[in-house]
């Protein structure tokens, strides 16, 4: 118990109790992109117009019976955004025009607007309350619980919801006991490799050094991943608190947030959180009167994927070119400016306050096998409910993709789920009932990675997917070691041949040969894991590779060099295809069969997808 924190908590909750209503507009990136900030403003204007009392900030002396209109962090249900909640009631796909009606009906009259509540497309059932929606119900939201419920820019609300209790606890029990608690929780690094966090901290703590550092790795760069971004934006104080606890436990004097500059909102919110901590006495000298001194500062990443690798990240933080170096020595022995350093991923750190305040044993009670606790995934691709989900480890792929994700978008079959981004692999349907743990994913040939989950269906070409990820790694290779620099480039050349129909079986042999050399001889994880998407698709979808090589065919049409579109006699001459062809390759008169000029066709597939009579075939 810390008096200062308790007083802030009490004061906030007293003010909050005066509020009659609370409107939360989702301020996550997805919702902001679909215009949620205009909705936020529209609520304020509507209140003004009607002469109703509202506030956008909880400060001392709030008026009794007012409404608190606030933004929140990402609520995860991005496919249904913009999201607005009024007290318990949860509205989806809200438009600015809906605002007067919400105020009129829901705020004033207490009615639910049926049109705006979530309707499950599977069974037509409607849900007025957020937590009843299957998307949320199946999740286990620890880290994401408050993201979406609190104002990320208000330290008082974070404290009001129990924030900084973990830090208070850590300061009370001391660094060794804090590390012990972390070990009990069995939390493993959420950046991808899954190293036990408690052990990592202990290494740094036991390392000799006059100065030690803490780094938060916020260089999330996998295509399709936005877990860390959402956490940084949605509940910045949880990560700041994690950083302070980690600094205290490892004996660090300073911590750095390494956040990519493409995340301006995350940077802004973390800066606001850091500033508030200095003002509140949670950072700087003599934190909460315990004699612990600790500073936090933000460093911007320039967006190089390799800077997510800890030694490259350290070089970049020092102002050098972001290239990795061999380990050992590990950062815990010699890291930032050759001092013992702990590098933890955003999500790992976000877990820390909860583990400290609720206890390591509580955390370890969630999960399965050696994978304890929850994991946040960014689910994208051909699934109905794309968004941010948090699940207890051990849940199956099927539960995630079908129960939470709502199944495939177009009603077709899910062909595979890609996990772990450019370092990961595909999970084919035969493994959909395997629990998601570090161990099983590795066994399957995918990896946990940082938490990108991409759902793929019959319209996705596995060779094309592998090529996409490899292109990414080749672009992002730092160039320091030859296996990654040249191996990746050569492998991509061979993969391109496959997608263009010019490859032979020998090329597949060479792909496998390069993959082996890259895995064993690359300097860092980027190069060592870059062949994974290729190897994993070769393992489960070798037939697709063979189709490309032997039959010169790509069923999905994604490999445009292999595609050929023809119009059959089923053509009614509706002219839709001819009108929409971007290169005017289709000609014909009304009610007559049309033809495609193959020399002009760019194989975009637009005609194929649009034809209402299925008169266009892909060869």
């Amino acid at each position: 118990m810390n008096e200062k924190i308790e007083n802030i908590k009490k004061a906030f909750n007293e003010e909050m109790a005066k509020m009659k209503n609370r409107i939360i507009v989702c301020g996550g990136t997805g919702c902001v992109a679909s215009g949620s900030m205009n909705i936020y403003k529209a609520f304020q204007e509507e209140y003004k117009k009607r002469g109703l009392d509202y506030t956008v900030e909880i400060t001392k002396g709030c008026r009794e019976g007012s409404t608190y209109i606030s933004k929140s962090g990402c609520q995860g249900f991005c496919a249904q955004g913009p999201l607005v909640s009024v007290g318990d009631i949860f509205y989806t796909k809200v438009k600015v025009e809906d605002v007067p009606e919400i105020v009129e009906k829901t705020i004033i009259k207490g009615e639910v607007i049926e049109r705006l509540i979530y309707k499950n497309p599977a069974d037509g059932k409607t849900y007025a309350k957020r937590d009843d929606i299957p998307f949320y119900k199946k999740q286990h939201r620890i880290l994401l619980h408050d993201s979406g419920r609190i104002n990320p820019e208000d330290i008082n609300e974070y404290i009001g919801h129990g924030g900084y209790q973990g830090l208070v606890k850590a300061l009370e029990i001391g660094p060794e006991a804090t590390i012990e608690e972390m070990k009990k929780s069995q939390l493993r690094g959420r950046g991808g490799a899954g190293f036990p966090t408690g052990m990592k901290w202990e290494f740094t703590r036991k390392s000799k050094g006059d100065e030690k550092y803490m780094i938060c790795n916020g260089d999330e760069g996998d295509p399709g991943a936005f877990m860390d971004r959402s956490l940084l934006e949605g509940n910045p104080h949880s990560i700041v608190e994690g950083m302070i606890i980690a600094g205290f436990a490892t004996g660090a004097c300073k911590g750095y947030f390494y956040i990519r500059a493409e995340y301006p909102l995350a940077i802004e919110r973390i800066q606001i959180a850091i500033d508030a901590c200095y003002k509140t006495g949670l950072l700087g000298k003599n934190i909460l009167g315990t004699g612990f001194n600790y500073d936090l500062e933000i460093r911007y990443g320039a967006g190089a994927f390799v800077c997510g690798e800890e030694t490259a990240l350290i070089a970049s933080t020092e102002g050098l070119k972001g290239t990795p170096r061999p380990k050992p020595p590990f950062p815990a022995q010699s890291g930032l400016w050759q001092k013992p350093t702990t590098v933890n991923n955003v999500e790992t750190l976000a877990n820390v306050p909860y583990i400290l305040s609720k206890g390591g044993e509580w955390y370890a009670s969630i999960g399965e096998g050696k994978s304890r606790g929850t994991k946040v995934f960014a689910m994208t691709g051909k699934v109905k409910n794309t968004g941010l989900v948090e699940i207890p480890l051990g849940m199956t792929v099927r539960e995630v993709a079908y129960d939470i994700g709502g199944g495939p978008t177009h009603g077709t079959e899910v062909k595979a789920v890609q996990s772990g981004g450019p370092s990961g692999g595909v999970i084919p349907p035969q493994y959909f009932d395997k629990p998601i743990t570090y161990e099983t994913l590795k066994e399957i040939g995918a990896i946990m990675g940082s938490g990108g989950l991409i759902v793929m269906d019959e319209t996705d070409c596995m060779v094309d997917i592998a090529k996409f990820y490899l292109e990414f790694c080749v672009d992002e290779s730092c160039g320091k070691c030859s296996p990654c620099r040249i191996g990746g480039y050569q492998m991509l050349k061979l993969l391109r041949k496959v997608t263009e129909g010019t490859a032979t079986d020998k090329d597949i042999e060479n792909i496998e040969k390069i993959a082996k050399a890259m895995q064993t001889a690359s300097l860092c994880a980027l190069g060592q894991t870059a062949p994974n998407p290729v190897l994993s698709t070769l393992r489960y979808f070798r037939n697709e590779y063979e189709e490309h090589i032997h039959d010169k065919k790509c069923k999905t049409g994604k490999c445009t060099k292999l595609a050929r579109y023809e119009i059959t006699d089923a053509c009614k001459g509706c002219t839709l295809c001819a009108r929409n062809c971007p290169v005017k390759a289709i000609s014909g008169t009304v009610r007559q069969k049309h033809t495609i000029d193959q020399s002009k066709c760019i194989k975009c597939g637009l005609c194929f997808n649009q034809c209402k009579f299925k008169a266009i075939v892909r060869g």
């Binding site: 290239t323 061999p326 160039g479 690359s522």
Partner: protein, 584 residues
């Protein structure tokens, strides 16, 4: 000592060394391309992967960066590692032009050697050199960079940034487009480069090489109207033998002189003669500055890379630099005046070729108009030791079988003081031997100054000469210079006593013995061995002080007059100018 097991062989090795070194001691060579004794291992090439026992299995680790630990069990070669290494090598070769036959490094290339050792018969991957942007930078007078041959080992950048601390070269761009070349979007000639050539000396392939002058020299030798004179720097004689398989550090002065004569040079001079002359001038300058309240400390000026450094990085030190030219730049004008007159040759027909352990000398010969003090360019061409080796091979001369020859009488005699110029501390030691005489008019009883010998970056000595307590410093490796200059600046700014009277600087670590133009493979062992070759010669020579060189005495008497004045001033001294770090 700790106990480890390598390939099943139990060995005791020193703690703290790498697995690569330990394996070598145990008799197992692990292939590398980026590793170099002079540099911190970076783990770039990926060839030295080995297996280290961890728990029940083995983990693949780089031998170059893995430190040995008590009880370590490692496998440095098995069929699997061999396969991985071969694939990595094939990948490197797929990004390398297959033009070995016309490459400067043909038969002296680390990549070619490995390709041969691994029995590469075909490269299974497409050659991609022409798909990637490449740079051919011929702007420098000393160095040529051809990134198409570069294997991105990073040695050049490391030696330029971490050892020499010049930062002219940088690793530019990333991924497959990575290029090791001049940073700051300029060509090398417009960069802070001081021409030391350590990049070329450390390059494992032909990506960075000296600009060859061999063909120009053959042209001159072919021209019957030309009178070709050659001179070799002190360090050349302890390097050249290695090009023909002689042990490292062998002093082959006699064979070298015979080879030069066999190549067709008419005048066989010696830069060592120039070194003795330099000592007369620079020693006199030191005495003059000390006794007449001149600018002190005096900084040596024999090393053109160091002179470049002062002009670019430490312009406030320009007045401190000795105005004496470097030894070969003294031989040049004297050959084209004194020798030409004595022999009755028109100086315009004289071609002076300097064989140097150095790449900066290639740029020195026409750095400004002072280098044409004879009325013609004083030195026409500079060959590196490596280039001389190539010429001797081209001529089919069996170096090892040559009888010891002699140089020409007039300008080839030298003393022990001159020959040690090739090693760090040598110029200082030579200057002290003669300086003491010039001040006290008495010869030293003991001419060795052991304090200034050896590979320590900054060496200091205090020498009592008459009334004077002369404080001297010797710096080798230009990266060691900044703190010394800082000390001088601070003393000057605060009116404190100067830390030194005289400072010798050689830009290359170890001095000229491992200069940018010396045979490849320089490391501290090589430095010590080559320096020993010079110090041994010094001890064996009867005359060990420059002022005892009779040919020099005769030169002053017959032609130059007094040091520092008249003809000496005109021909043997120079001036310096401020130069920009970047010319954009």
């Amino acid at each position: 000592m700790i106990n480890i097991t390598i390939n099943g062989k139990k060995v005791q090795v020193e703690e703290g060394i790498t697995l690569l070194e330990a394996a070598k001691q145990a008799g197992f060579n692990i292939p590398t391309l980026c590793y170099n004794d002079d540099l911190e291992a970076t783990g770039g090439c990926g060839l030295c992967v080995t297996k280290v026992k961890m728990g029940p299995g083995y983990r693949t680790m780089r031998a170059c960066t893995t430190k040995v630990a008590e009880g370590m069990e490692a496998i440095t070669q098995d069929a699997e590692l061999m396969r991985t290494r071969k694939t990595v090598l094939e990948l490197i070769l797929s990004n390398h032009p297959q033009d070995c036959l016309s490459c400067e490094r043909n038969h002296n290339c680390e990549l070619q050697q490995l390709a041969s050792d691994f029995g590469i018969r075909e490269i299974p991957f497409a050659n991609i050199v022409n798909e990637i942007p490449q740079t051919l930078d011929c702007s420098s007078k000393s160095i040529k960079i051809d990134t198409s041959k570069c294997i991105q080992c990073g040695r050049c950048v490391q030696v330029c940034q971490k050892v020499q601390k010049i930062n002219a070269l940088a690793s530019i761009s990333r991924g497959i487009s990575t290029e090791m070349k001049a940073g700051g979007e300029v060509e090398l000639a417009d960069s802070p480069c001081i021409n030391c050539g350590q990049c070329a000396a450390h390059c494992p392939v032909g990506a960075i090489v000296e600009k060859e002058a061999i063909d120009y020299v053959w042209d001159a030798l072919l021209d019957s109207k030309k009178y070709c004179i050659v001179q070799c720097a002190p360090a050349v004689r302890v390097g050249i033998g290695e090009e023909f398989g002689l042990p490292v550090g062998t002093n082959s002065t006699g064979k070298m002189l015979s080879a030069l004569r066999a190549l067709g040079f008419k005048g066989i001079f010696d830069t060592n003669f120039g070194a003795d002359l330099t000592i007369m001038e620079e020693g006199s300058e030191l005495v003059d500055r000390v006794t007449n309240n001149g600018v002190l400390p005096l900084l040596t000026s024999c090393c053109p890379a160091w002179v470049n450094y002062v002009e670019k990085f430490a312009q406030d030190m320009i007045p401190h630099l000795s105005s004496a030219k470097s030894p070969h730049q003294m031989v040049g004008p004297v050959a084209k005046t004194y020798y030409a007159q004595k022999m009755g040759i028109d100086p315009k027909d004289i071609v002076v070729v300097s064989v140097m352990p150095c790449t900066a000398k290639k740029q020195e010969i026409d750095r400004d108009s002072n280098m044409s003090s004879s009325g013609h360019q004083d030195v026409d061409y500079v060959l590196t030791t490596r280039e001389l080796g190539k010429m001797i091979k081209q001529a089919g001369i069996e170096f090892a079988k040559l009888e010891d020859g002699k140089g020409d009488d007039m300008m080839a005699d030298y003393t022990g003081a001159a020959t040690i110029f090739g090693a760090t501390g040598g110029v200082m030691e030579a200057a002290l031997r003669t300086g003491a005489y010039l001040i006290t008019k008495k010869d030293l009883e003991k001419v060795e100054f052991y304090d200034v010998r050896g590979l320590k970056g900054v060496k200091e000595a205090t020498v009592k000469i008459g009334e004077l307590e002369l404080k001297a410093a010797v710096v080798n490796g230009i990266g060691n210079v900044p703190p010394v200059i800082e000390m001088i600046r601070e003393a000057k700014a605060n009116g404190k006593p100067l830390p030194y009277h005289f400072v010798e600087v050689m830009a290359c670590p170890g001095g000229c013995v491992t200069g940018g133009g010396q045979p490849y493979g320089g490391n501290d062992k090589v430095r010590v061995a080559r320096a020993k070759g010079l110090y041994d010669e010094d001890s064996a020579l009867q005359k060990r002080c420059s002022h005892h060189n009779e040919s020099i005495q005769k030169l002053y008497k017959d032609f130059l007059g007094e040091p520092l004045h008249g003809k000496s001033h005109e021909l043997l001294h120079t001036t310096y100018q401020k130069r920009k770090l970047y010319n954009k």
